[in-house]
């Protein structure tokens, strides 16, 4: 009676069920046809190659490891400053620094394979051919359970327009990758578009087995004193809790329009409650990026926390939450 009336009087509360033994909660999910032991994955570019965090805990506990985007050729990336902190968020402009797909296959993947990690390879490029070539190199590599296509890259053949901003450009990339890939393909989309649903429809038509929503939002910060942009690159990607409401909206919109399309939710997830929001909005699994910078143990903490959260509420399978939103009207 004394608790918050705003919070405690939903017209339809979650039905009170008997709490469960946490060990009995089934955390397994399917993401685009791939079975994961739990719905917590890393976000591309926020986990390097895996070894770094393995110093803290066994990273194979994670549902999957989405590795940093790799390109056909090695990339040095952009000069510093590459990051700036913003309210409840951060801007980054790394410039896709990576050793190139061949070096990645030779040096980074074997460790992940040895450890038995479930690897989602993220690929990037500046032309349809770039993407296709990289996808081809990954074919048949054990341990790679899916390919995530980072469409937030400028298309050099289209005056630098970002692929994910154009339905047709995105489609071409996805079709080319799909043709090369031996595993499910996830198209990673940006929220910086007028109509994310139409882009999602386009990539699914082109053969994507699922979508990752969302990449960073394009943002900027300026040093008030010097007038210099806080990033060498002037613009950068905004990530972290600040963008979570935007990410959830994208996931919900796409899930409402395309309920059968698997979604890897991403953007600002940090707490168990955040993960539950993503699942309810329609994500089958949740990729955690910036939160790892703040808390190296965020992955195992979320896995354990989700188990307890479900157990206390009598939710036997985490998949019961997926898409479960109760509209007011």
């Amino acid at each position: 009676m004394s608790a918050s009336p705003v919070r405690d009087q939903p017209a339809r509360a979650w039905p009170r069920r008997r709490s469960l033994d946490p060990a009995d909660v089934d955390l397994r999910v399917q993401l685009a046809g791939v079975a994961l032991p739990n719905p917590i994955t890393t976000a591309s570019g926020c986990f390097a190659s895996g070894v770094e965090v393995d110093r803290f805990y066994d990273v194979t506990e994670l549902g999957a490891i989405v590795v940093k985007s790799v390109t056909r050729e090695p990339r040095a990336g952009l000069p510093t400053p590459r990051m700036a902190e913003t309210p409840s968020g951060m801007l980054n402009a790394i410039g896709l620094q990576n050793p190139g797909v061949d070096a990645w296959l030779a040096r980074d993947l074997p460790w992940l394979q040895d450890r038995g990690a479930r690897v989602v390879a993220s690929i990037a490029g500046n032309s349809v051919e770039d993407f296709a070539t990289v996808a081809g190199r990954l074919r048949g590599q054990p341990g790679i359970i899916a390919i995530e296509v980072n469409l937030s890259c400028p298309n050099v053949e289209e005056r630098g327009l970002v692929f994910a901003c154009s339905a047709t450009d995105s489609q071409e990339v996805i079709a080319a990758v799909r043709a090369e890939a031996s595993v499910p393909v996830l198209a990673k989309l940006t929220s910086d578009v007028t109509d994310v649903v139409s882009i999602a429809e386009a990539v699914v038509d082109a053969g994507a087995d699922g979508v990752t929503l969302i990449n960073t939002l394009l943002g900027m910060a300026i040093d008030p004193d010097t007038g210099r942009p806080e990033l060498w690159n002037t613009y950068g990607g905004l990530s972290g809790p600040a963008i979570r409401p935007v990410a959830l909206r994208n996931v919900h919109q796409v899930h409402q329009a395309l309920p059968d399309v698997p979604i890897l939710g991403c953007g600002g997830a940090r707490t168990v409650e955040d993960v539950v929001q993503f699942l309810r909005a329609g994500a089958s699994a949740v990729a955690v990026g910036t939160a790892t910078f703040v808390d190296p143990f965020v992955g195992p903490r979320l896995i354990a926390g989700l188990r307890t959260w479900c157990a206390e509420r009598g939710i036997a399978a985490v998949t019961d939450l997926v898409g479960d939103v109760q509209p007011w009207r």
Partner: protein, 299 residues
């Protein structure tokens, strides 16, 4: 007798891996223009080496990321065993917030992180050059070098007397110590590089260790290059993660073949061979930043 006062600790048992620990604050006091923060962190203290850093979660409103600080001192013995000190300059919201913590508050700390200062392989004179709060890890290093029986000389610089850190400790620790202030309010007027050559000659220096603003580290590295002296510098770069996963903290490093690679300051550093840093490709201490061309917006 050791007192274990730290809280939850997460991490592998190996002594060469960092941990995350909730640590009780023991003390927070002023020291000149700076603040010294001491906290109980047994697992970090027993792993730490000079030049490594810890990253602290701060609770200032809207702040998201941890703040990195060099380890200034660890206590291995006595009642204070397991204590870690950092020295900081309060100049932004996160460091301002840190000035408000009190004894018995709990801090969330990750560490020790990064590559420490390498010990000299031979018995040589060691010159330690610190600027501002950069002196803090050098005092820690100096103690360690002295325990190894090595000669330590020090140059300590700052803009002005109030910002000179560790004058007494430097004098106690080193065979000779020289102080520089830009305004001449204490010691020699000028910069650390102005006195470097004289101290090197005098102290039969075989290796130089430096920590301070990157522009100073550049000047020191370049001067040491001219003098054919090995130099190890502890750099600072904006760090989002401090653990090697974000690639925001890179510096251009020249490999033996002369090719430049962007290396993570939090993992391959913060202590780096000053002669290997391609300073001309950084934005530090030069009129204009010459940098490899980037490939546009990042994701």
């Amino acid at each position: 007798m050791s007192t274990q006062r730290s809280g939850t600790v997460q991490g592998r048992p190996d002594l060469d891996t960092p941990v995350q620990a909730t640590c009780e604050v023991l003390d927070r006091r002023r020291e000149g223009a700076y603040w010294v923060l001491s906290f109980a962190a047994k697992e970090i203290a027993e792993r730490a080496q000079p030049g490594q850093f810890v990253s602290l979660a701060v609770q200032s409103p809207g702040a998201l990321l941890r703040r990195p600080f060099s380890i200034a001192r660890v206590s291995q013995q006595g009642v204070a065993a397991g204590t870690v000190d950092v020295v900081f300059d309060a100049h932004g919201p996160g460091t301002e917030w840190l000035t408000s913590v009190r004894g018995h508050d709990v801090l969330d700390v990750v560490g020790p992180l990064g590559r420490p200062f390498p010990m000299p392989r031979r018995k040589v004179g060691c010159l330690l050059i610190g600027g501002g709060y950069g002196v803090a890890p050098l005092l820690y290093l100096g103690e360690t070098l002295r325990r190894e029986g090595l000669r330590v000389d020090m140059i300590v610089g700052a803009a002005t007397q109030a910002r000179l850190l560790g004058v007494i400790e430097a004098k106690r620790l080193s065979a000779s110590s020289v102080f520089t202030t830009e305004d001449g309010s204490y010691g020699t007027q000028g910069r650390v590089t102005d006195v470097l050559e004289a101290v090197v000659a005098h102290g039969r220096t075989g290796v130089v260790y430096a920590c301070g603003p990157n522009a100073m580290l550049r000047a020191v590295s370049e001067r040491c290059g001219e003098l054919h002296l090995p130099v190890q510098v502890a750099v600072e770069e904006r760090m989002a993660c401090g653990i090697g996963v974000c690639f925001t903290c890179v510096l251009p490093i020249r490999d033996r073949a002369g090719n430049v690679h962007l290396r993570r300051a939090c993992l391959d550093g913060p202590v780096l061979n000053g002669a290997r840093i391609a300073w001309e490709d950084t934005r530090y201490g030069a009129p204009s930043a010459r940098t490899p061309a980037g490939e546009g917006g990042d994701a």
